[in-house]
Structure formats: structure tokens, C-alpha cells
């Protein structure tokens, strides 16, 4: 099994390189402001890891990752708002809009830091599990699933906006000061948050990589390409898809939770239809079925958005539209498939081409 060994050696080298870049090079080269932006992009990349798993591998085009990102983000932000307000006080916005004199019952558990931390990941996973088991069991798939997931994102954002007294409405939960006792306006602490995010991203990539290369990962691709055939082999494809969907939701939840201390705010505008679909575009541009591609794509697109929209907001929208069109219509494997193409060409030029792994498989589960 030379091939296997070579693959894991390459992966280990890749991880070491990525860790060096994230933990040494980036903090040295980037200003505090730029490092903060990078932290934000890495959160997007964490969502993309999940999308790579669910969509790239499992064919589940989830246009509602914003919901899970938001659940994680709000769970974290609720705790931080309560902590900011101090014992016995209401979070600032509730004093402003609300008539309530005490915390709403569904806020109260979030006062406990352990509960809140667990909820950032488990709450999105639970919602995904309930929703997914309904949807997949009845074989709602392909475009139907995509549309339903998008409707979910829309409904969640609308609901949040409607509950101004308890969720902050359109503004969201803003002006978050502290992160478990550390003041977030201190650059040192901001840097710490960045390191936590970078470590979390590497962890999620390692987790996703294990899943992709496991027997489950092979089965997931099989379900994507021919669900009915898998059923005739005695598996229940609904469960296979559910696992990918729930894991992706957990990843998005964690991303949302870490996004909050990095940026200091969570609002419906960050989780509705548009941001949900923006999560997908990064993965699509980089290569939906390739973990590295999806992560780099997500960071690249998020960076391009900041760089372009700072100066030319209109140009950014056109550029984003073009990205969608070019990446999906003409390069469905994303940039990662270009790498594969080059590698294959080089391999065919070399005399003995031992490795004949297929290039980033991209399938369409309709």
C-alpha cells in the first residue's frame, strides 16, 4: 500500500505547512486589523469544510448553512451578552426595546458558559438531525432539498428580525465586549481568538479528511452518485446523508460561535439567504469535492469580497456573479480540478505513472 502511505505523508506535510502559515507566518506579517479579517475568513472556511462534505461528497446542496452558522453564533453571543451585562442585569438591547424585567426563559440556560459552548455545536446538529431525518426519510432530494434548505434560511432570518425584543431584530446581538473574561478590544486577546479559530479550522479539516477517506466516505460518494443502488445493497441512504448533513451543521455552528468574538456581532444579515449561498460559492470556486480546494476557495472568495467591495461595491457584485457562472458552468470541479489536471498531465509525461487516482470526483446528485 505505497499509495496510501504516500497520501498520508503528503497530508501530514500539508498540515504542518498550513499550521506554520497560520500560526507563525500570518501573525508575523499581518497587522492586527488584517489578522482579524483573516480570522473572519477562516470562519467561512470552517463552514466550507462542512459544505465540501455534504455537497461535494454527499451531493446535498445545502443553501441553508447560514441557519446553523447563526444558531452557533447566537448561542455564543447570547452567553457573551449575558456575561457582559453582569449578574442580575439584562443585556443592553433588552433594556432598550424590551418590556421584560427578567431574561426570557430560553435565554436563561445560556448564562451557563458550559451549556452555551456545548449548544454552539450541539444545537445546530440537533436541528439538522430533526430536519434531515424528516427530509431524507421521505426521499426529498436534489433541487427540492436545496430549495427547502434555502427557505429555511429565509424563514430563520425573518423570524429573528421579527423578535426584536428578545433577539435584537435586524441589528442582531451587537457590541460584544468580553470573551470568557477577556476584553475583546485588547489586541492580544484578539490574537488569541485568531489562534483558537485557526486551530479549530485545522481540527475540522483533519476530522473531515478522516471521514472522506473512511469507508463511510466511500459510501457517501456512492449515495451521491446512485442512491437507489445503495438502497438495493441493504443500506438506508437516508442515514448516510443524515450523518454528513449533521456533521456539516455542527461545523457551521462552531464557525458561527467563533465568528462572534472575532467580529463582535451576529445579525440576521449574516445568516439569511445571501450569506448562506455565499458560503457555497467559496467551496464551489475552490472545488466542492476537495477539502483543500474548498477551504482555499472560501478564504479566497471572502478576501476578494473585502478587497473589492471596499473600493468598488458594484464591481464586487458583478464579479461574484461571474464567479458563480464561470466556476459552475465551465469548471464544475473548481480550481482543485485544474491542479488535478496539471498533475495528471505531468504523470502521463513521466515514464511510469503509478498513481492513477481519479481527479477530484464531481458528481451531480439530482
Amino acid at each position: 500500500m505505497n499509495l496510501l502511505k504516500g497520501r498520508s505523508a503528503r497530508a501530514a506535510a500539508g498540515f504542518a505547512g498550513a499550521a506554520a502559515l497560520l500560526f507563525a507566518v500570518a501573525p508575523l506579517l499581518l497587522s492586527d486589523f488584517r489578522l482579524g479579517l483573516l480570522a473572519k475568513y477562516l470562519c467561512t472556511a470552517m463552514v466550507a469544510v462542512g459544505i465540501c462534505l455534504a455537497w461535494g461528497r454527499g451531493g446535498l446542496l445545502t443553501l441553508g448553512q447560514g441557519v446553523f452558522f447563526g444558531l452557533g453564533g447566537y448561542a455564543m453571543a447570547m452567553h457573551l451578552k449575558i456575561a457582559d451585562a453582569g449578574p442580575g442585569n439584562l443585556p443592553d438591547f433588552m433594556q432598550l426595546y424590551g418590556t421584560a424585567t427578567e431574561l426570557p426563559w430560553w435565554w436563561q440556560p445560556f448564562a451557563n458558559p458550559l451549556f452555551a459552548l456545548a449548544a454552539t455545536v450541539l444545537l445546530p446538529m440537533a436541528v439538522a438531525a430533526i430536519l434531515g431525518s424528516f427530509i431524507f426519510r421521505r426521499r426529498v432530494k436534489g433541487a427540492y432539498f436545496a430549495i427547502l434548505s434555502q427557505a429555511l434560511a429565509a424563514a430563520f432570518a425573518i423570524w429573528l428580525i421579527g423578535q426584536q425584543a428578545t433577539t435584537g431584530g435586524t441589528n442582531g446581538l451587537t457590541d460584544i465586549q468580553g470573551f470568557f473574561g477577556y476584553a475583546l478590544d485588547d489586541p492580544v486577546n484578539q490574537r488569541m481568538v485568531y489562534f483558537v479559530i485557526a486551530a479549530a479550522l485545522l481540527l475540522l479539516i483533519a476530522l473531515a479528511r478522516q471521514l472522506v477517506h473512511s469507508r463511510y466516505g466511500e459510501l457517501l460518494v456512492a449515495v451521491r452518485d446512485s442512491e437507489e443502488r445503495v438502497r438495493f445493497l441493504g443500506y438506508n441512504p437516508a442515514n448516510v446523508k443524515l450523518v454528513a448533513y449533521v456533521v456539516a451543521a455542527g461545523m457551521a455552528g462552531l464557525a458561527g460561535a467563533l465568528f462572534v468574538p472575532a467580529v463582535g456581532i451576529i445579525s440576521p444579515a449574516m445568516i439569511g439567504i445571501v450569506p448562506s449561498i455565499e458560503f457555497v460559492i467559496g467551496a464551489a470556486v475552490g472545488g466542492r469535492a476537495s477539502l483543500v480546494g474548498a477551504v482555499l476557495g472560501a478564504v479566497g472568495v471572502a478576501w476578494a469580497k473585502t478587497a473589492l467591495s471596499e473600493e468598488f461595491p458594484a464591481a464586487w457584485t458583478y464579479f461574484q456573479g461571474l464567479l458563480f457562472i464561470v466556476a459552475l458552468a465551465f469548471l464544475p470541479g473548481g480550481l482543485a480540478s485544474l491542479v488535478g489536471l496539471v498533475r495528471r498531465r505531468m504523470a502521463s509525461q513521466a515514464t511510469d505513472s503509478e498513481e492513477t487516482k481519479p481527479v477530484v470526483p464531481v458528481g451531480e446528485a439530482a
Binding site: L61, A151, E228, I273, I281, L328, E364
Partner: protein
């Protein structure tokens, strides 16, 4: 009693709007299985067409009536163009089509912003559409806005026209032939490419008509399409693929449901509850209200 009737009638008029915006989709998504997220922007194009026409034609009534066919042509042409440029390359990849057309929709929105500005604009409704009709008089009257009745009429007319076109004309027969068996249609001498493009023209044109109607009930803006597109897709998903009657029934049912729930809760909670109802409904009928049963693997 009047409250219930009133809510029902509001629901029916919400349903009429839903029906108009979903009708074009029932052709492009329902019949041809193409998920066109830019459909909402074709609606927007229809609305802006009305706005532009009203600026050049003084009479609000005449400009509205002129806008109907013109918007149909404008949006239809946009649709045919989109089909020719992109969609025909993607017929076997529905999910990619969804994302590609989302990109198109972003660009069209920005184009609208660049041409007409980001703030919403408004058209004047003609005099004969501004009043109300009293359906039940007395102390507790039930009145209905003329504009709502006009939209209801327009929706009914559009459904009848589309269904007659599909049933009776050679074009309709060809569309149905291509939908049922593309390969067979091709070997029987039907140019599937032309049929696809024509069907797309019709479906997108209907979006334009819907856009004209929307100018009567709300402002015209670059994001108006995004706001309605998901509801429209849900109507088709719940109604069932390839079935006009499903679209019609579901549009009105969802409209009434939305209106009743809005009355008893709030607008935002109603939205969530409608979605829950839809997911629950799909548990019962995953393929939608009406389905074509086939023995194909997918």
C-alpha cells in the same frame, strides 16, 4: 364571520400574486426541470418595464395595459437569451444550474441598481384600480381593493392562456412531448433545442407579466425578485412537478394559510409556520400534491 371572510379574501389575493409569480416557474422548473434563480429578476424586469413605460406614456391605465405585452416580451427575451447562453449547457446538472442562475440573478440586480438606482421606485396605479369594491355592506363591511381583483383576474387569465397553449397548440404538444420523452421527441423530428428555448421564453415572459402585477401592490426595487422567488419555488415543490393544477391549488392554499396565520400570529411567525407546514406536507407526499408516476430509477 366577516373577519374570516376578509382573511380568506386577503389570502386569495396573496395566492393570486403567488400564482402569477410561480406560473412561469411551473413551465421552466415544473416541465423542463430547470431551476432558474434569475426568474425573480425577470419579474423585476417586468416591473421596471412598467415603470419606464409609465414615464413615456402619460395615461396610467394605458401604460399598464401596454406594459403587459411589452413586459412579457422583455422578460421572455431575457429568458431565451439566458437559455441560449448558459442553461442549455447545463441540462443534466440541475444543481449547478441553480447556482449559475443565482450568479446571473446577482448581476441583473446590480444592473438594475446601476440603471435605476438602489432606492425603490413606484408607479401610479390608474384611477380605475385605486378604489375598493364593497362585497358585503352594513356595519361590518367587507371591501376588496380593485387592484387585488385585477391581479386575481390576471392570474386566472394567465393560467387559462397557459393551459390552453399547452393543450391545444402544436407548440404545447411539442413541449409536452419533450417533457415526457426527450429522446423519442428528438427522433420523431422535433427540434428539442427550439422547444426548450420557446418554453423558456414563455415561462420567463410570464414572470414579466407577474412583474407588472406586482407594481400594483408594492414598490419596485432591485431586490424585489429575491423576496418572492423562494415562495414561488415552494409553490411548485408542494404542487408537484409538471402539474399546472397543483401549482394553482397550492398557490391559493398557501396564500390563505399565510393570511390566516398572519392574522392569528405575526408576519414573521407565519412565515416559519408555513414552512413547517410545507415540510410536514412533504412527509405525506414527498413528490408534491400531484405527481407523474413513472418507473424510472430517479
Amino acid at each position: 364571520m366577516t373577519v374570516i371572510l376578509g382573511q380568506t379574501f386577503t389570502g386569495i389575493s396573496i395566492g393570486a400574486v403567488l400564482l402569477l409569480i410561480a406560473l412561469g416557474l411551473s413551465l421552466t422548473f415544473g416541465q423542463m426541470n430547470v431551476i432558474n434563480m434569475a426568474h425573480g429578476e425577470f419579474i423585476m424586469a417586468g416591473a421596471y418595464t412598467t415603470y419606464v413605460l409609465q414615464k413615456s406614456i402619460t395615461g396610467a391605465g394605458i401604460s399598464l395595459l401596454v406594459a403587459l405585452p411589452v413586459a412579457f416580451l422583455v422578460s421572455g427575451a431575457l429568458g431565451a437569451l439566458l437559455e441560449w447562453l448558459l442553461i442549455r449547457r447545463l441540462y443534466l446538472r440541475p444543481l449547478d444550474t441553480l447556482l449559475v442562475t443565482w450568479g446571473v440573478s446577482l448581476m441583473l440586480q446590480q444592473l438594475a441598481r446601476d440603471i435605476f438606482g438602489a432606492p425603490n421606485v413606484q408607479t401610479r396605479a390608474p384611477d380605475w384600480l385605486t378604489g375598493n369594491i364593497t362585497l358585503i355592506g352594513g356595519d361590518d363591511p367587507l371591501t376588496v381593493a380593485n387592484s387585488r381583483l385585477f391581479i386575481l383576474g390576471l392570474a386566472v387569465a394567465a393560467v387559462v392562456a397557459l393551459s390552453l397553449t399547452l393543450r391545444l397548440t402544436p407548440l404545447g404538444r411539442r413541449i409536452r412531448g419533450v417533457v415526457q420523452n426527450r429522446d423519442l421527441a428528438e427522433v420523431s423530428g422535433i427540434s428539442t433545442e427550439r422547444v426548450d428555448r420557446t418554453a423558456f421564453f414563455l415561462g420567463s415572459g410570464l414572470a414579466g407579466v407577474a412583474g407588472v402585477a406586482l407594481t400594483l401592490v408594492g414598490p419596485i426595487g432591485p431586490t424585489m425578485g429575491t423576496n418572492v422567488i423562494i415562495d414561488a419555488f415552494l409553490v411548485i415543490v408542494v404542487g408537484g412537478i409538471g402539474q399546472l393544477k397543483g401549482t394553482v391549488i397550492v398557490a391559493f392554499v398557501l396564500g390563505v394559510l399565510q393570511s390566516v396565520l398572519e392574522y392569528s400570529t405575526t408576519v414573521s411567525v407565519a412565515k416559519v409556520l408555513v414552512l413547517v407546514a410545507i415540510v410536514a406536507f412533504l412527509q405525506w407526499r414527498p413528490q408534491g400534491l400531484y405527481t407523474l408516476r413513472t418507473r424510472s430509477l430517479v
